[in-house]
Amino acid sequence: MKLHYLPVLLFATLGLAIAADPQPVGKPVAAAPDYPLDAPAPSGRRPGGTLTQEFTPPPLHDEENKDIRRERNYPEQPPTIPHAIRGYQVDINGNKCLACHSRAASVQAQAPMISITHYTDREGQTLAAVAPRRYFCTQCHVPQQDVKPLVENGFKNIDVLLQHELPPGSNQQR
């Protein structure tokens, strides 16, 4: 056989193979699920939509950077961060937060020094340096954005609660 018939032959076999394929085109890949795909989404985070609907995501906002310390809702609350922290590196190599908030640096930076709890380990032992469990600041402290909360929040602080509890006239300091 002459060699230049070879490609033609190849194509012919290929065509035959395709034609002989018993599988119909457009067969569904998997059986349809037995639950409705368009069930309404759980209320709250995606109000109104269903799982398969896509929304345009809300625009991103900048971190609030007003440098005004915010009220805490209760004494043990980790205060939220009143300034931007973009690009602040906190890892094994260094801790940018401590460059301003450590005992030694806080005077120069005029930043509030981290409180004694940050030097205390879980046995209640006060250490010479920041306790390992307090090293990663953003575990507890977060910056804020000026946005409408996604979820309604009915939190009442202790002052409001006590207002209802106490007999009129008593004046307790908190």
Binding site: N65, K66, D67, H83, A84, R86, G87, Q89, I92, N93, G94, N95, K96, L98, A99, A105, A109, Q110
Partner: protein
Amino acid sequence: MKALIAFLKRYWVVLRRPSVHYSLGTLTLGGFIAGIFFWGGFNTALEATNTEAFCISCHEMSSNVYVEIKDTIHYSNRSGVRATCPDCHVPHKWTDKIARKMQASKEVWGKIFGTISTRDKFLAMRRELAEHEWARLKANDSLECRNCHAFDYMDFTRQSPRAAQFHSTALANGEATCIDCHKGIAHRLPDMRGVPGW
């Protein structure tokens, strides 16, 4: 006047006297032109090494520092103005530029002979490399930063109170320069133990 012409004529004769194959004049002129070419070529070659594309053409840079700069403000921001590697790392003055290039060739040497051939080796060297840059920027009062960020045109009322507080004190009175406070502005930092302010 005549004496001058006579002098020039004599000089011309000297210049025209064949050296072996070419006249001295041709040689000087040729040398001058060749000089222009070499100078231009040198500077063009220098300019070619002065682009970000060149800096990151070796994988040490592209897979270490370049990926890191990508999520910083100097790579992508609101206004789309960005700083490239040479903006921060190559002095604008010619002599300083050459000096920095020769220093950088040491790092290229490091690449060729494998001193910085892996991520681990790079990280091990990082503190030393960073310290070179800190020392350079400290010595020139953060000149490369100031090429873009001019202190005189900083509007403190437009800055965050924290920034204005620092800039109007330590920076304004010359106690500190940009790099004292803004280390790690474009890259991840090395082990910062013992670095003042950390």
